[in-house]
Amino acid sequence: MDRFVLDVAHLLAASLVLISFVQLYQRRLYALLNTFALHAFVLACSVAWQAFLQEAPHLYITAGIALVFKAVVIPVALHRIIQQLGIHREIETVGGVGLTMLAGIALVALSVVLMLQVTTEADRLAREDLAFALAVILLGLLLMVSRRNAVSQVVGFMSLENGLVLAATGAKGMPLVVEFSVAFSILIAFVVIGIFLFRIRERFDSVDVLVVDRHRGERL
């Protein structure tokens, strides 16, 4: 049985990485949100699967959080924000998308190389999961860095965090996983609220640094 089991887990993890790439590819906000919802959904599946094969019921909670909170609530909230703040639907990327994709591939390669150095006594599943999780995290960071738009940066942060959850659940018998995921959900909620409160339209730095620094007298 385990051959099949492992393959499924493997498949889910890999598809997470794939979806991260799709995110990198997106040019329009709504599409990006949808892909993120998908990302979260796949994560939920993978967590559930882990829960099943580790016989760790508490992981189902994490899966639930992922499903409800990340796959549904947050995307919807962000939709609202986009509408209310009338944010451009176009995403301005820093380097072109192609460049970003290349960088992404390099990152995946990097993470695989790193994890292959891990001696095999750590069980195979954990190792591969780990490689994928690392890839997802790095891709999420890449998304944050390469997008000028606040919402897409939030999305990047959230997919990074998905990578974390993937890693955490992949680790057998890791305690406090649920707590972590809850903590992170709160964190993300903070971010979203922050965006909403500060009316951060285009980017984090639309709180115009120049003006602020003049005001601080740091810059003449």
Binding site: L114, Q117, V145
Partner: protein, 669 residues
């Protein structure tokens, strides 16, 4: 053992006084109390130091302070006893002087607490016997003196001086710190005792000596590290200037001797050559800069630079001789250097006291606005004159005795095997003679313009002599200058233990020599008898006076100055400080200062006065310090952009760091 404790107690007393002073600074009696206690404490320490002069056996003591696993070690050997005597003599003099002078201090709260602390700090530096204690006290000394320099902080010039001073001091301390790190080695053996035992590779030796030359030089004022000295020393109140110039620089010299002779135990001949070169450059540049000054205190400060140069020439010679195993000659050179240390501490304090007296009674430091004070302040001017003669190395005063010894040491150079030294030592001798002659010129100017001639400002006309305490201090030092000058043998014998402990050899016993003259090597080579010279001069002068007044005329008529028949009433026609130095500036200035004169001669019929403008540039600043400051400035402005990035960019930085670190892992492992 016993003297160490006494000295430590008096230091403790000084620190307590400092703390007390914070509380009582506002009281009118404060300055009397503080300076009185410092005077007593310094005198006690002085007595203790003298008490230890006799026995060569070093006494040491450890307190459970400082580095926890090491403790604070103090050690009193011949060398430290000698320098303790110098420090506390200067300290006692300054305190005595300040008993009167301190009363004029507008901001006692900014002087009283730091003065005793400064004094105590210097004592501790000389006593310290482990790296940590040494540097702690060393930097504490800088810190307190910085506070004293900042005493009159409302004058922007002083603030700048204090700033430059502290940065240079920090720089020097870090250099010494590195030197200690080298000596202490991997397992941190910070005790001097351990450092003495350990043997060092030539590389370490060189490195340490270079670092020490930098670190100590920045405190002593070796060119090109002297930049802060002429700014900071004049900025402080005069009795503090006296301490800084007369004593603190000597503490730096002590540090050099301690490192070069004691901890390192000698050096290579080429290293000694660098010391010689730096000493010579310092001596001549210092006096040339001094000649160009017309601020009395700054002039004195530059002379400190010169004298430090002379001392370092002596030390360099000692190193050179020691490197070739000529310990007797080394002893002679070292004695000369130490003798000059004592002398300079005497007459430089005296001169700064005089400058302080002038400052209090006229409120002027600028010589161009002084003049004729010899009639208004006879006592001060007499003491100052003695100081001038002494520092100009003129017999029969003490300055000459030490420089004469240095020359004698230089005359030993032919025995040196290395050609480099053979050729450079006579040149250094020439430089020494040059700086001595220039010093004489400079003090003709200093005394002549300040005290002689006719008053150049109303302030100078209303001047009057200063209080008893100040005069006592000045005359005491003047007397010591004379004594050391006419009885050099006594001093030389007093220095013997120190040289014995440093270079393992001493100069021949001088007390025994007939007529109290000094014979550095052998009667046949050279000898000098300050006492007889003094007596002869005194005798023949009084003889002449007697004969003439007895047999020839004695009547006297006062008349207007003749001045070739065109006496000019205006005091503006006198020679000014600048004018006096002009010929020498013409001779050396173009070379050293890039001095350039511009003459504006208005056309005939134009009533504008003709103008002569002279520009002097300080090469050291232009070549060394300005570029450095420029670099820091540029780097600061370039990096400043990192304050103003956007959050995404900051995230980018984090991301890049992460990726590069991971790459490193992936590649290396």
């Amino acid at each position: 053992m016993y003297p160490v404790i006494v000295i430590l107690w008096s230091v403790a007393a000084l620190f307590c006084t400092a703390v007390l002073a914070v509380g009582i600074a506002r009281r009118p009696t404060a300055s009397t109390i503080v300076y009185g206690t410092s005077l007593v404490a310094a005198s006690i320490a002085l007595a203790a130091a003298f008490a230890h002069f006799g026995d060569a056996s070093p006494a040491s003591l450890a307190l459970p302070l400082g580095l926890p696993w090491l403790g604070a070690h103090f050690r009193l050997d011949a060398l430290s006893a000698l320098f303790l005597a110098v420090v506390n003599l200067g300290g006692a003099g300054a305190s005595l002087y300040a008993l009167g002078y301190g009363a004029h201090e507008p901001l006692p709260g900014r002087v009283l607490p730091f003065f005793p602390a400064f004094l105590g700090g210097m004592n501790l530096v000389v006593l310290a016997d482990d790296a940590f204690t040494f540097l702690l006290c060393w930097e504490f000394m800088s810190l307190t003196s910085w506070a004293l320099v900042m005493a009159h902080h409302r004058i922007a010039q002083n603030r700048q001086a204090g700033y430059v001073y502290l940065v240079m001091a920090g720089f020097g301390t870090l250099a010494l710190l590195l030197a200690f790190g080298m000596l202490a080695g991997n397992d941190g053996a910070y005790g001097f005792a351990a450092m003495r035992q350990s043997v060092h590779t030539p590389l370490v030796n060189t490195l340490v000596l270079a670092l020490v030359l930098i670190g100590v030089g920045s405190k002593a004022g070796i060119v090109p590290l002297h930049a802060w000295l002429p700014l900071a020393h004049p900025a402080a109140p005069s009795h503090v200037s006296a301490l800084m110039s007369g004593v603190m620089t000597k503490v730096a010299v002590y540090a050099f001797i301690r490192f070069a002779f004691d901890l390192l135990g000698g050096s290579d001949w080429w290293q000694s050559m660098t010391v010689l070169v730096f000493g010579g450059a310092t001596a001549v540049l210092g006096v040339l800069y001094a000649l160009m000054q017309h601020d009395l205190k700054r002039l004195l400060a530059y002379h400190t630079v010169e004298n430090i140069g002379i001392i370092y020439i002596g030390l360099g010679l000692a190193l050179a001789f020691q490197a070739n195993g000529m310990n007797a000659a080394a002893a002679l050179a070292l004695t000369a250097a130490l003798f000059h240390v004592i002398n300079h501490s005497l007459f430089k304090s005296l001169l700064f006291f005089g400058a302080g007296a002038v400052l209090t009674s006229t409120g002027e430091r600028d010589m161009e606005r002084l003049g004729g004070l010899i009639r208004r302040m006879p006592y001060t001017s007499f003491a100052f004159l003695v100081g001038c003669v002494a520092i100009s190395a003129l017999p029969p005063l003490n300055g000459f005795a030490s420089e004469w010894l240095t020359f004698q040491a230089i005359l030993q150079s032919p025995e040196l095997p290395q050609w480099g030294l053979k050729l450079i030592v006579p040149a250094v001798g020439g430089v020494l003679a040059l700086s001595a002659a220039l010093a004489a010129a400079c003090f003709v100017k200093a005394f002549g313009i300040t005290f002689l001639g006719r008053p150049r400002s109303p302030a100078a006309e209303e001047a009057c002599d200063v209080d008893r305490f100040s005069l006592t201090a000045m005359f005491g030092l003047a007397g010591l200058c004379l004594l050391a000058g006419i009885l050099p043998g006594v001093v030389i014998d007093a220095l013997a233990p120190a040289t014995l402990s440093m270079v393992g050899e001493r100069m021949p016993e001088q007390i025994g020599v007939a007529w109290l003259s000094i014979v550095p090597v052998a009667e046949s080579r050279s000898s000098y008898n300050g006492l007889l010279v003094f007596l002869f001069v005194a005798f023949s002068a009084s003889l002449a006076v007697f004969v003439i007044h007895r047999f020839a005329s004695r009547e006297l008529r006062r008349a207007p100055a003749w001045d070739c028949g065109f006496p000019e009433p205006s005091t503006r026609t006198q020679y000014t400080a600048g004018g006096f130095a002009q010929p020498i500036r013409r001779v050396f200035g173009t070379l050293v200062f890039q001095s350039s004169e511009r003459i504006e001669m208005p056309p005939p019929g134009d009533l504008r006065p003709a103008r002569l403008q002279v520009q002097l540039r300080d090469l050291i600043w232009d070549v060394l310090y300005m570029p450095l400051a420029g670099f820091v400035n540029a780097a600061a402005s370039w990096l400043d952009r990192f304050q103003f990035l956007t959050i995404r960019r900051y995230l980018g930085l984090v991301f890049l760091t992460l990726v590069s670190l991971l790459m490193m892992l992936a590649v290396w492992l």
